[in-house]
Structure formats: structure tokens, C-alpha cells
Symmetry: C2
């Protein structure tokens, strides 16, 4: 059971946008036992689209296409699909009514013929109604392959995938279960881990695949397998984990719940332990806070944050003492400590975390080397402080610091 | 002059990570006149990689491959490339020394044979030294096509692209100039714009392409062309813009400088006008601040932010009056107004912006409908307040609010 994802749009190829749709679709298909064989991004070009459809038909049982369904001339996916299926466009009355309703309710400009033309669909297609937009999804079948065309707007695509496409795939195809088990470790590089577990890895059964996913200080190990009997494949993975665990006990952090990110693991622990948190972010510039708030439910544990970018704001808002700053510099453990303790007090949180550092590329108000970051974590029992050297690239310094904070919280402050 | 990008790694296809490398590479290639024809993401599977290389060779002058260069068994790109080139692996002493140096300086675990094997490269390749990691880049040529293999770690890949790959491409190939001109508009949907400019669009010369890029309330129009004489293509675009502009005068916001994002446009204006800004973010949870701080130079104009997620933190940190909250609810223009004014005072900034709303999926401390967002912008001349209905999906509410704030700043507070 294999799928190919085709994303269409010049803006992807010139790098004007990042294609996030594919990752979402890949995740969702995996959950119902469909493996993604290939993701292909191509321009809004008829010949190229036709060629990609033909190539995909050879390898895939399902081809999911996103993008190119807008009402304007540069969007040609629908016409090209119609040509590929040797079909003609016909008006779908339900879609037309929906488009007219959307305009009447939400859109201030009057509806035009271009908008009404969104209701034209290939006669052979089954329409997947798009509640949140004017371009309907389309389900088409050719020989043994299903083609699904969806709008490229992420929230419209997501709704169609979960409410329409997945249920239809589940109904139509017999699919295996795909099981991933991801182990988060830190403290060792991937090659050091590989040497430790070499014997185990060499003896892994053929149907279990191991992947190493290194990322800024942590390494995730992912075991993957698939099969039709969910109990059998779960047992197989469990048996392998039993052999593996003794080798990695000292570097094991947690199992990652499917695709839970580390901030989701931390969030769950905070809720479980009924603890609240607050942040004072300087060099990380709001990144850590944003990682938590992008998931719903943050109000259960997150009191808030102060993003004190300018040195003066550390004094004005966090009442860090000028003397401490002058004596130790603004990037120092004593400043981080005061920031965390003041934040804990001001937000009345159980835990408060501060970051102060030089993200670069140029030095800020402190003379410390670019990449130096101080972190403090304050709790009712006291405050721990840390200094790290995070390299010399802004993006890396910010992201690595955010990851490090999450790891410290997970390992030293929230571990059961 | 065409390129294909191939990204290798199971984690991309199962959606465990979003492929951001391709967008970066696409942007960089475009800037030096190389068009990306296709982006292909495939699994760590030998047959599939070989097949993708063969297909790419047919269409592309340059094939950029990322991923699969780690020291562990699941990474097979290097071996597969060697097979594709009917080559053998040989040790590169410079790489070996570099790997040993990296371990000696930065890595606490001892170097292993697996790490040393990173210095094995195909004999036919030119090594591109990777300053930031152990896997070297590799430049190989076959028939008329260049193959470049790069590590998948984003900051390692980025350094190799800008310091090694682009200069070599510029040296080897005669390339046209590619010119994009992107116009940011808002106030009209894409189809309404298309109707207005239909006559102009129909008469566009063949070598100028128009794209509509709608996104949460704004529509960008992108004109693209290419040619070997940069003056000629610039004139061609300018002539078309002269005809176009009168049709869109009322909805025109700005030209987007190449791929500058709206926050970069706002940041530049703040610096030009020598103004400072601060934020109080509730429902946007740090998103707006993070958008600014991810780019360097934010300390020139950004004083800081308060992320007052919990209602109590609005009272404790921003001194919003309990009476105002009780009377109007925490999601209301009067609360947004107090938040912005207090923020402006506390951070001593020229401009302060606040957001308060229900991002969903469930209602928070206010009974207003999910998706309702109040925004206030305080300046020395007073405070403007706004209420928006941003739909019912968390991700959409947060991102749409952030975009709206940037638009308001750009259009009403920073326009020259």
C-alpha cells in the first residue's frame, strides 16, 4: 500500500514557501498504514504535471495532489487532471451553492464568474466538499490507482484529509498497521550509539527498520515495522526494545509518543505533575514560548513569558540589578539567575526558566563570544544555572538553546 | 539551466520532519539564475535512490542531493552514489584530519571507526569541506550533469551551499538572470484582483509569468522573468508594472524585496524611521516576537515583549485593571488598549502592540466566540483598537493575527 504526494506550485520550487503540506499528509497516511513512497514538488506547468501523474501511477496505489486549484489563470491543476483523465468539466450544484454561500457570509467583494467556476469539476470525479474554501477536493480513479486533488491552503487541505480522504482510503483499501517507536536519547553522538548497539542492530529482523535521527545535541532512534496483525508487530517491537534498553539506559530520556515533539512531552509532564511554568527569554527571542503555545492546552501550565531583548528591559521589567549586569555582564549566570527568580515571582509559577546570550551574528550588549548562552531554572528549592557554547550561527544558537532548555526540564526537573 | 533537488530520508516521508532544506536551496539557486525543475523526496532505499538519480540526470544540469550522509547504517547515500558512478571509496586525508580535530575540540565521546569512515569519499568526487560537521559535501560530474551531495543538517547544508556550491556553479555555468518582483496587496480576494487586471494579464508577454499567492487575508502578485541581459529584463518588468499599478493602487501595500517576509519589511521601516516597538502577546503566544527575533538585528528596534497568556499575568505584569476585565471580558478592545498602553510605558517604546483573543480549540477565560481577537496599537498620538474574527482553527487564528498585526503596522503606522 504505497502513496505518492505531488505538490504543485512555482512558489515551492523558487523557495518562496516551505512545503509543510507533505509532512502533514505523510504523517496522516502513516497512521492508517499507508507508506509514502515519494514526495514530488513541481511547477504549475501542464506537461510536467502530466508527466508526474504518469510516473506516480506506476508506483503508487494512491496519489495525493495539492495546490493549483485557485480561481486564477496560473492555477492549472484541475484542467490538467481533466485532460489526464480524458474527461470534461461539469458544474456541481452543491459546490456552486457552497461558493455562493461563502461569499454571501464572509467575503466583502461580490462573487464573480471566476469564483463560480470553482464549481466546475471533472465529470468522473467524486467531489470532496471543502467547508473552509471555494476549491473542492476531487477523488478520481484510473486503473488501480486513486488520484486525490486537494487545495494547497494548509487548513483547507488538513480538514479534507482528516474528514474525507482518510475515511475513504480506510474504506477502500486493506492496509497493514505501521508501527513506529521513537526513543529520545542524549549524551552520546549517533556513531557512539551505533557502536554500542552494533550487535543488536546487526541481528534485527529484516522487517524492523532502525533509523538514527540526530539533532542539535539529541539523538532519536526510530524503530519501524508493519504488518496486518497489530498484536504481532507490537510484540516484535517490544521484544527488540527489551534487548536494546540495557545498552542505552544511561542516555535514555523518553519514548516519544508517536510524533510528539519534546515540548509536547514536557507539556504533558507539567500537566501530570500539576506544575506551572514561566519564561524570561532574551537570546531565544520568544522561540521557547511559541513552541509551547502553538499547541492547544498551554493555558493549563503556562503562566506567561517576558521577552526581555534589550538590556534595559531586563532592568525595567525584571528588576535585574544594574550592579549584577555591570559586574558580570548581561550574558552571565548571575544575570540569568536573577531573571529566572524574578520571573518566578512575578508570574507566581512553580518553575521559571531564563535565557540570556549572544545569538549573533554580531555581539550585543555583552562582550562574551557569539554563541555563549546562560540558562537558569528556578524552582521552590533553588535555582540552577548553566553556561553553554552553542556555535556561531544565529538559527542554531536559538534552536539549540530551546532544545537544551526542554531537555533540562525533562531530564532534571520533571522526570518521575 | 535547470536543477533538481533530491532530499533523502525516511523521516521526511513519514512526516517526522518538514523538509525546509529544499526551500532554502531553491531560493539560493534562483538568485544565481538556476531554475529548480523538481524537488523529489525519497526514502533511504538504494534502488529508489538510483532510480531518482537516473531520472534527474535526464532533466537537470545540476542535481543537489541532501541527506543520508551520517555515519550509521541507515545512511546509504554515499555508497549508492559511488555505485551510480561505478566508482570506489577512497580516504581523503584532509577530511580525516578535520573529523579528528572536530572530535578533539567539541565532542566528549572518543572518536570511533565509524566517525573516521566519514573521510571515505568516491575517488571521482571533488570534496567540499564541511566546516561544521563530519560529513563532507561531494561534487561529481557525469555526462553533462553535476551531482552535488550534501549533509541534511540544515546549518551544515546552508554553509556548504553558500560558501562552496554556489561559487562553483557560477564559475562553471553561463546562467541567465532570474527576476521576481512580488507585490503585496490586501483588501481584495485573488479572483476579484484577477478580474480587475484581466486585460493586462491576457496581454502579458510570453516570457513574463504572473502568479497569485493568496494567504490569510493578503494576496501577493509575483511577476517572474529571465534573460541574459539584466537591464532588458528589468525594463520589461518595469514597463509592465507601470501598466499594472493604476489598477491596484487602492490595494497596494508594498513591493516585497525579493523574498523578504512582511516582518522584514516592517523591521526595515522601524529602523529607517528610528522607531522602537514592544509587544504584549496573549493569544498569539509569542509568535509575533519570534518572527522578528529569528532575523538578526532585532535589537535595533525591538525592546521586548510580554507574553501574558494567563489572565492573572495581564493583571500582575501589565497592571490591566481587574475592573476592565470584569466589565468587558479579557478578550475586549478596552483590555487590549490597556495592555498596549502599559507595554509602551513599561518598555519605553515608540509603538506597542497587544493581542488578546481566543485561539481555540476551546474557550479560555472569556466567553467570546473562538477566533475572536482584539488588537491594540499604542503610539504617542493615541491608541487604535480592532476586533477581528479569525476563524475556528488554532493555527489559523495565531498566524492570521500575526499577519494582520504586521499589515496594520506596515499600512497605518509606518507608511511613508
Amino acid at each position: 500500500m504505497q502513496a505518492e504526494i505531488i505538490t504543485i506550485g512555482d512558489e515551492i520550487l523558487i523557495g518562496q514557501i516551505v512545503d509543510t503540506n507533505s509532512a502533514y499528509i505523510g504523517q496522516q497516511l502513516n497512521k492508517i498504514g499507508v507508506s509514502v513512497y515519494q514526495i514530488t514538488s513541481i511547477q504549475d506547468d501542464k506537461q510536467h504535471i502530466l508527466q508526474a501523474l504518469k510516473a506516480a501511477e506506476k508506483n503508487a496505489d494512491i496519489v495525493i495532489i495539492t495546490g493549483g486549484l485557485g480561481p486564477t489563470k496560473d492555477d492549472i491543476t484541475k484542467h490538467t487532471l481533466t485532460e489526464y483523465f480524458e474527461d470534461t468539466l461539469v458544474q456541481n450544484d452543491e459546490v456552486l451553492k457552497h461558493v455562493e454561500d461563502l461569499f454571501a457570509k464572509y467575503i466583502s467583494t461580490p462573487i464573480s464568474n471566476l469564483n463560480r467556476m470553482q464549481a466546475l469539476v471533472p465529470s468522473k470525479c467524486e467531489v470532496l466538499m471543502n467547508e473552509y474554501g471555494t476549491a473542492p477536493g476531487m477523488w478520481l480513479e484510473k486503473n488501480q490507482t486513486v488520484f486525490v486533488s486537494l487545495p494547497g491552503v494548509p487548513y483547507e487541505m488538513k480538514q479534507l484529509i482528516s474528514n474525507k480522504v482518510l475515511p475513504k482510503i480506510q474504506q477502500k483499501f486493506k492496509r497493514p498497521h505501521i508501527l513506529h517507536r521513537t526513543i529520545l536519547t542524549y549524551g552520546l553522538g549517533e556513531s557512539a550509539i551505533a557502536e554500542r548497539i552494533e550487535h543488536w542492530e546487526t541481528n534485527l529482523p529484516e522487517d524492523i527498520k532502525l533509523a538514527y535521527l540526530p539533532s542539535l545535541g539529541k539523538v532519536r532512534l526510530r524503530l519501524s515495522t508493519k504488518g496486518f496483525d497489530v498484536n504481532v508487530i507490537e510484540d516484535n517491537i517490544q521484544n527488540q526494545l527489551k534487548i536494546l534498553m540495557p545498552f542505552i539506559e544511561d542516555i535514555f530520556v523518553s519514548f516519544e509518543d508517536d510524533f510528539d515533539s519534546l515540548e509536547q512531552v514536557v507539556a504533558k509532564e507539567l500537566v501530570n505533575q500539576n506544575k506551572t511554568i514561566a519564561f524570561a527569554e532574551s537570546c531565544t527571542g520568544g522561540k521557547i514560548t511559541e513552541m509551547f503555545t502553538r499547541n492547544s492546552g498551554a493555558s493549563q501550565y503556562l503562566k506567561g513569558s517576558i521577552m526581555c531583548y534589550a538590556t534595559q528591559s531586563k532592568i525595567d521589567l525584571l528588576e535585574v540589578s544594574v550592579e549584577t549586569i555591570n559586574r558580570f555582564s548581561v550574558v552571565s549566570e548571575p544575570v540569568a539567575k536573577e531573571m529566572a527568580e524574578q520571573t518566578r515571582k512575578k508570574f507566581k509559577s512553580d518553575i521559571a526558566v531564563s535565557t540570556t546570550g549572544n545569538a549573533g551574528p554580531t555581539k550585543g550588549d555583552s562582550n562574551v563570544e557569539v554563541g555563549t548562552v546562560c540558562v537558569a531554572i528556578a524552582t521552590e528549592t533553588g535555582t540552577e544555572t548553566y553556561t553553554f557554547h552553542m556555535g556561531n550561527m544565529r538559527e542554531k544558537v536559538i534552536n539549540k538553546t530551546a532544545n537544551k532548555v526542554l531537555e533540562l526540564l525533562q531530564k532534571d526537573f520533571l522526570k518521575n
